[in-house]
Assembly symmetry: D2
Homo-oligomer: 126 residues x 4
């Protein structure tokens, strides 16, 4: 994931992973009309997609050959509605165990925290 | 939301709300290639979108004139990877308070539970 | 855990695991004054302890010799305040994977749902 | 809560709120044998109690006369097992709305993050 495109769904919503370092990723997205909900607010699943994709990207550099990872669960909290403009999602690995990793994402618009996620990923070794 | 289309983003991923009753909603979605992640698995944000949209739909009938609602937080857990086929998301309101509601969603493929969400919504009275 | 006492902390709060079957557990607790918070409401951590302990108990029968388990994360939602009386916590394993399990708990007083938890446990094989 | 004892349950587990500032609290606890689970590890509900109580304490200074608050939901993730020693829980209010607040807690032992919580509280105005 860190070496390639983020996949069809992430591409479709305009999500770009701009930086990946071990234990860290940064992604950006510009809000467009096709990402809104019926209240003309950014659909929460778009913000969530930034976190989920960012978590996979941040974890990827720590995977050994043949290992893969998958989302076990993510909780996302919404602090501010978003109607337009650009979002930045920064993700960090807070704990990398052998088969489980903990991650956190913060989605910001300008300097304002708009959403926060904590998640768990499984790491599979063949 | 219960009286109209689910919005641009939900439309774009092919999500349809098929049933809305007070405290309940049901939505469906067919997995297509543009919804996959780089591992050819359905992106977790799509399943999440079913829950988030379904929660809004289930809560909507209980809103009085002028009231609106918004997602405070949702946690989603993934039990099974999804690669193709159809998904059904059923959502129930487990507690409707004056300004806060608790909701739960189950996303199933056939009879198999593939994801589970619990969430909190705010209810705003002008 | 299913074969012995629930441990010092669970004992101290009066939590009893009354039933354990594969993928299921049931625990009970009587609210006493020393379990209250400053608002004379049952401290949320007591309800949480019922879920956490109940999840361990429900998972235990599926562990093979030498395997152990630990809580990765739990989210608990509170529907109703509790001031006195008896509580029952029922827990089910919703997905048992090789190294990760998903679990859910419902804490009820009489017929009323007072709290709901979803959690993830790690399973360790030596 | 910021002006008085943390309540019977918090007292019973030895939890002390050492600092409260608007939007912030700090609590400490020494691990004792009666707080352990059957694996001789600190019961997760004790760590959770630090977060839940700390969240109430951090929110308290922002309440106006007559307002009260209650936990809507908390998710806690466990990074490291704890067997003995002292714990410090720091909590911050990440968003204070009119009727809902978002909060985060970090529980550390020495410099190590052992648990992380995000939560939602309701604010009631009579």
């Amino acid at each position: 994931m860190s070496d390639g495109p983020p996949g069809a769904f992430a591409d479709g919503i305009g999500l770009t992973i701009t930086d990946v370092e071990p234990g860290y990723s940064r992604g950006t997205l510009s809000v467009t009309e096709d990402l809104l909900n019926p209240n003309d607010v950014l659909h929460g699943a778009v913000t969530y997609a930034m976190a989920d994709t960012g978590m996979g990207a941040a974890l990827q550099p720590s995977l050994e050959d043949g290992q893969s990872c998958a989302t076990v669960e993510i909780k996302m909290s919404y602090m501010e509605p978003v109607r337009d403009g650009d979002l930045v999602c920064e993700t960090t690995v807070t704990r990398r165990g052998g088969s489980v990793a903990h991650l956190e994402s913060a989605v910001r618009q300008g300097g304002t925290l708009v959403a926060r996620a904590t998640g768990t990923f499984s790491i599979f070794t063949p």
